[in-house]
């Protein structure tokens, strides 16, 4: 392991889903992830932010090895993901943990907690039941679950949402991962529990020096739980920057409208309408030419944005944005 080299690198990553009619006639492709480049360092926490259908969940599944990339590659710790087979692939799966959105759905309802936490260990060849039990108890302590004995023999539906999500996190930690991918880990939980779970993830990430990639649609929670943000729109990353930089100085018009749509809680919110771009995210089957946000963009430059895809600009130090507005010819 060489320190400083990224843990995970995605280059020119595409994940398309073919649409077929009658089971064989190809009628098109849903371009869920459409040319994404990024690198995640060891021990950093990043957030992928975007609306539903922007490809963030497909990206997560591609990184988890659940979808095969159509084009491009994912390199994890120097190994290319698509070349991994058999044992090497199992090893990779053990090194990437997964925390899902719906904690209840993520736990098999017919297994008690002990059984379902045993599963990953059994699959990864931990034969000794006592060793398994010991590892399970250790992670349950790590996710701050109390009354472990009682919880181990319960079924998922007997636990509260917060407890369920802790079990999901515990399961993701069981195999000693180097990275955790959390897909909207708190969006189904109550407001009072959300912060607790996010804090827990953040603390575990720091203690274990994990790479944490969490996917969310909620910009307001991001500041305290991520180091960097990637903003996705229609299958692409349109802007990326460290968290404070991005939230305080958004550069891409899409990020700007996302931030304009949410405001800190205030009684005056009820008095004014928010600035919302019209229209809806484009179909991933047939994305618009040029910049994908141009049909909704209030600052779109006719003849440029609707024709040519914007390259990556760096309007500020360490802050990247794919938007023609940063092109010097147009001024910024």
């Amino acid at each position: 392991m060489t320190a400083g080299s990224p843990l995970l690198q995605a280059s020119n990553l595409h994940t398309w889903f073919e649409l077929r009619q009658w089971g064989f006639l190809r009628v098109g492709s849903v371009r869920a992830v459409d040319g994404v480049n990024f690198a995640l360092a060891r021990g950093e926490s990043v957030a992928f932010v975007g609306e539903s259908g922007c490809g963030k969940s497909s990206l997560a599944r591609t990184l988890l090895g659940l979808h095969r990339p159509t084009r491009g590659e994912v390199t994890f710790d120097g190994e290319e993901l698509s070349t991994l087979k058999g044992k090497a692939r199992q090893r990779y799966l053990a090194r990437v943990g997964y925390v899902q959105q719906d904690p209840f759905g993520a736990l098999p309802p017919f297994m008690d907690v002990r059984r379902l936490l045993n599963e990953p260990l059994i699959i990864h060849g931990v034969r000794d039941p006592a060793a398994r039990e010991e590892r399970i108890r250790r992670v349950l302590e790590e996710v701050r679950l109390t009354r472990v004995d009682e919880i181990l023999s319960k079924f998922p539906h007997m636990l509260s949402g917060g407890q369920q999500q802790r079990i999901v996190i515990a399961r993701a930690l069981l195999l000693e991962p180097a990275m955790i991918i959390a897909d909207e880990p708190v969006s189904m939980l109550d407001a009072s529990v959300r912060v607790e779970i996010l804090n827990l993830l953040r603390n575990i990430q720091r203690e274990r020096e994990l790479t944490l990639a969490f996917i969310t649609h909620d910009l307001s929670t991001v500041r305290h739980f991520a180091d960097r943000i990637f903003v996705m729109y229609a299958g692409r990353i349109v802007e990326q920057a460290p968290v404070d930089e991005l939230l305080d100085h958004p550069q891409h018009p899409y990020t700007q409208s996302l931030l304009a749509a949410i405001a800190d809680v205030d009684a005056d919110n009820a008095l004014e309408e928010r600035d919302v771009p019209g229209g809806e995210p484009p179909s991933l089957l047939n994305p618009p030419p040029g910049c994908r946000f141009h049909p909704r963009c209030p600052k779109a430059i006719a003849g440029t944005c609707d024709v040519r895809e914007p390259p990556r600009f760096a309007p500020r130090e360490g802050h990247y944005s794919d938007c023609w507005l940063h092109d010097e010819r147009h001024g910024s």
């Binding site: 912060v195 307001s220 205030d266």
Partner: protein, 325 residues
């Protein structure tokens, strides 16, 4: 035009208990509040606090396992709890109170054109002709920002945001006095959510409709609220003007909840409320929040009254006992 300060709805000691296998669940357990005309009241609470049951109780769409349903609800001059089911259905439901249920946008009939579905309350409750009803539908669609071309479309042809607007149109088409919205935006994206809230603000301003917005999301609630009722374990623990609630909450639970809201432009990390909300089947004696409350003291073992701090503010907490006005 009616007087803006006229009380539209007065709810007193409303109770809705369910019979379950494990015992009686007190989903709504003695709830009182009032709502003025052209006012938006937000009923805020975590999942399982009884806020959706409150909506069902007001609209009288009750499940079969109701064990107890009682209290006083005055809508204008009408005591709607005194009406029998038939009269309630004919005179109140949809005509004077409309309800947008949680996830209603996914409950649209997939094989009926949306225009006809929106026209349904007019045809059923008012007996209007199809042409007249569709005309009103077109008008309502314009108000909620749906192209009138969509009248002839089927639900699957619309995006989530559009379907939610259609559902909203269905509630508004009869021009009811009161619209109850149960989590109208929780399944939607940030931008769509903001757009829907814009529509609601516009309708409230232009049409003078009164709203009860039920949500678990403090940020969403601030987008419409004139007043806020915070529910916990079947009871309203704080009932305040929005400004007071968001900036100076009184109940310890309100304070902790407001503190747990992440703020975009705030440097310090949000807090959280430890513990779990109590079981509605066997709520603890005394204050129901006591187990999670940092300010708990001996009095909390007894059930607190709702103390009125000032004319428009009631808090169910012993800490405010002396301040009773």
């Amino acid at each position: 035009m009616t007087d803006a300060t006229e009380t539209l709805l007065r709810v007193e000691d409303l109770r809705l208990h369910y019979q379950t296998r494990r015992g009686v669940a007190r989903a709504v357990d003695g709830v009182s509040f009032d709502l003025r005309r052209n006012e938006a009241l937000v009923i805020l609470g975590e999942s399982g606090c009884g806020k959706s049951s409150l909506a069902k109780a007001l609209m009288r769409v009750l499940p079969r396992n109701v064990q107890h349903f009682g209290g006083h609800v005055m809508l204008g001059e009408t005591d709607i709890m005194a009406l029998n089911d038939e009269r309630f259905r004919r005179e109140i439901q949809w005509n004077r109170i409309a309800l947008v249920m949680q996830a209603a946008m996914n409950a649209l009939n997939p094989v009926v054109r949306v225009g006809e579905q929106v026209a349904e309350p007019l045809r059923v409750h008012r007996g209007w002709s199809k042409e007249r009803a569709l005309e009103r539908v077109a008008e309502t669609f314009r108000k909620v920002g749906v192209s009138t071309d969509f009248i002839q479309r089927y639900p699957f042809e619309l995006s989530g945001g559009m379907r939610q607007r259609v559902v909203l149109a269905m509630a508004l088409v009869t021009e009811p006095d009161l619209v109850i919205l149960d989590e109208p935006t929780s399944a939607l994206d940030v931008l769509t959510q903001a757009a829907i809230m814009n529509v609601l603000k516009r309708i409230k301003r232009d049409e003078g409709t009164s709203f009860i917005l039920i949500t678990h999301d403090v940020a969403t609630s601030s987008e419409l609220a004139d007043r806020v009722a915070l529910m916990y374990a079947g009871q309203i623990v704080e009932f305040s003007d929005a400004r007071q609630f968001f900036h100076d909450p009184a109940h310890p639970y309100s304070k902790m909840l407001m503190d747990s809201v992440p703020r975009l432009h705030q440097p310090e990390a949000p807090g959280h409320i430890p513990g779990e909300p109590p079981d509605l089947i066997n709520p603890p004696a005394g204050c129901r929040f006591a187990d999670r409350c940092p300010s708990r003291f001996e009095r909390c073992d007894r059930d607190p009254d709702a103390f009125s701090l000032d004319e428009r503010r009631r808090v169910r907490c012993w800490l405010h006992e002396g301040e009773d006005a």
